[in-house]
Assembly symmetry: C2
């Protein structure tokens, strides 16, 4: 597999090679058990199987090849990092490892136990030197979207260079205007890596590439959720595609997402579904889902349900909006358009987070979904508090909803599965009752 | 007692009078047991005994008398709310009830369990209608210093009018400039209550009153901590004085703090200490301590230690800096000076929170303290993550430090006491060892 072939490279970026190989072994084993075992997967998923096998191998080689050409490699934890600019500079902007429980204990030597597992996991990967993405990053780009991350940058900065983008608390005119300054400074930081000026044309090219990527994902979203009787791809596979989007080369990735979409279109025409008709179709709302955190999707799809959408940063929140560059004449124009797009992200970090609740209800109705799982990573105060507003609105609409808060430990997998099963049963019962009523 | 005399008033502001009376009874009982029982308290504490007895009685009548005269009453949870402006308008800016466990369960019907107890407690007081301060507030002034609060305003706003001040994540020039706008808007909000323009002269008067209050508290700080052999007032009494500062009329309060200080000066001259010589003198660092949350101070001072300083929002962080109004000519000048002062607050909400670590070490040395307790309210991510930087610096200096995270439940009181006892023992042992070494 990829990792072994690239041992020298991994050593050169100061990876703990032995431990890293073990971690990758575990990850691949998990992928094999939870993904490869699925029946009737789209053929085009083969690309993603391959990518998974090379996720810490060939992909790392590609990134380091770019770095050798003085192209930037930026690690991120958040969809507020303007990847368009990095890609415009010919570089790569990727999500860092942060979905594994195996690094959490190490992180807890410096971080509190009761903060978000994603932060602890990512921090632990840095301490262990077991993520080749982290080790390859010219710098890690943090932001201020959550306070545990915000404060963790101060500690992480002692282990790896960190640049912080100040995403404001609010979205009023004056907040957006200082946010725009942040984008400009980020571009300058990129230029400090490439040691040359990044032009407007290059940045526009970056926007075009990322717009195409988001458009492909929006296409996938529609295909997997448009027909209540035909689920042409599993929620797990769709989630995996989404997860790979933060690591793969965006052009190659977009092509491969579109390949999957082409196949799904045919499946929809032919009525080929990977789940039986009447399988309860769920939307998952909330916080990001980093690999290999497949706990929730696995619980749902091994209990007779399926996932048709993630209203999450690993999902719809990421790809729902594109950057409109029509008529852009100057760099400032472009920064303004970038902020226009980024300010549409309805992250719970904003107060108020206008529009999210209404959007969720609308998404639910458009997709004719059968229920909603509001999922938050443990100790994520913003999504956690906001869940009250969301569930209140869902209750008013009579939309079935289950709230799950979880970390990366395997301990609650059984409990989650039991709760999901009960939730799916209640949905099935409701459907039956409705069918009788309609007779 | 005060509450019964003011039953009609309490009913008029929609207090649940019966429940409120029970809560007040519990609070007064706690005060009696934990405070009145102390030996050799300064005579000037009598005022504060009286104030405690009227805290939800006469003081509420005073506030509502002002409201009848169209003076503003603003409830707050944070020392970033510019009380100078409210006081300048002839009104009152006070801390809301938020230190009791008795309201937490109610709050958890709308808020997550795993957020800061202060927020839950305060929210519960609103739901229960058992805090006469909350019920008297024209509006509650929230801020964005922590994300659980930031998001809670969106919910609280459904129960009581809320105005939010956007305190930025950072303190760079551009962050401060938008923060200044917030101060201006806050002033306009105050004017919407008084229905008349607030003048520069009035605001300057407000600054003068609050500057005097902070100066009195700084004086108290010096008196209680300057002589390692003489502790003229208990940490509990000093904490109680600090806590009352967020509720009392600032002019009367300042006078009474200075009365205590006058008495402490005499005690210092005469060598009158409320604790034996060689009592380990501790500094408490961290998050605010709202009444009746006296758990930590009680644990320390009933275990043979004493508290000589709170590096906390209920303490030194609040009173360490004053507003310099020298040469202020215009309202904008004043807002600028206010921000200059408010930006000196070294709250962990900022990234980076420059200077706090060095300040703590300096405070420790100046006060010749014997140890430090880093205290955080549960789930306070900012202070919690920052504790790593603080404890690292303390360890380098060889300063004994104990980290305690706690909520308002009584369950961990025993555990905290045991840990504090062990900590005090280790300090005493260190002192003995040093004494031998010096022989």
């Amino acid at each position: 597999m990829g990792v072994e072939l690239h041992k020298d490279l991994l050593e050169s970026i100061n990876i703990d090679v032995e431990r890293h190989a073990k971690m990758m072994g575990m990850g691949l084993e998990g992928y094999k058990t939870q993904f490869m075992s699925q029946d009737n997967r789209p053929k085009a998923m083969e690309y993603f199987n391959w990518f998974m096998s090379e996720i810490q191998g060939q992909r790392i080689a590609e990134i380091n090849q770019l770095r050798a050409e003085k192209k930037p490699a930026v690690g991120a934890f958040c969809i507020f990092v303007p990847e368009e600019i990095v890609v415009g500079a010919g570089g790569v902007c990727y999500g860092l490892c942060g979905g594994s429980n195996a690094t959490v204990a190490d992180a807890e030597s410096e971080l509190p136990r009761n903060i978000c597992p994603l932060i602890k996991s990512a921090y632990g990967f840095k301490l262990q030197r077991t993520c080749a993405y982290t080790q390859s990053a010219d710098f890690i780009c943090g932001e201020t979207t959550c306070e545990a991350k915000k404060k963790t940058w101060e500690l992480l900065n002692k282990h790896h260079p960190v640049h912080v983008i100040n995403v404001p608390h609010m979205k009023r005119e004056r907040d957006l205007s200082i946010w725009q300054e942040e984008i400009k400074e980020f571009k300058e930081r990129i230029e400090s890596v490439t040691e040359k000026k990044l032009t407007l044309a290059e940045m526009l090219e970056g926007v075009e590439i990322i717009n195409a990527k988001r458009a492909a994902l929006l296409r996938l979203d529609k295909l997997r959720s448009q027909n209540p009787d035909v689920m042409p791809i599993s929620g797990k596979d769709a989630l995996f595609i989404l997860q790979m989007g933060s690591m793969d080369d965006p052009v190659r990735y977009t092509q491969n997402v579109n390949n999957v979409c082409d196949e799904l279109e045919v499946r929809l025409q032919k009525g080929i579904s990977v789940f039986p008709k009447n399988t309860p179709r769920l939307m998952v709302l909330g916080t990001p889902i980093a690999i290999p955190n497949w706990k929730l999707h696995t619980a749902i799809e091994s209990s007779g349900g399926c996932v048709i959408n993630e209203e999450s940063c690993t999902g719809h929140r990421y790809y729902k909006d594109n950057v409109d560059v029509t008529g852009v004449q100057s760099e400032d124009d472009l920064y303004h358009r970038l902020i226009e797009r980024y300010a549409k992200i309805d992250c719970a970090c904003f107060t108020p987070n206008t529009g999210r609740v209404e959007k969720i209800v609308q998404m639910y109705k458009e997709r004719k979904a059968d229920g909603v799982i509001y999922y938050t990573l443990s100790f994520c105060h913003t999504y956690n508090v906001e869940s009250h507003l969301v569930t209140e609105a869902l209750a008013k609409e009579g939309i079935p909803c289950l709230v799950i808060e979880s970390d990366y430990s395997p301990e609650d997998a059984g409990q989650i599965k039991t709760r999901v099963e009960a939730f799916l049963e209640s949905i099935a019962f409701k459907q039956k009752a409705q069918a009788f009523a309609n007779k």
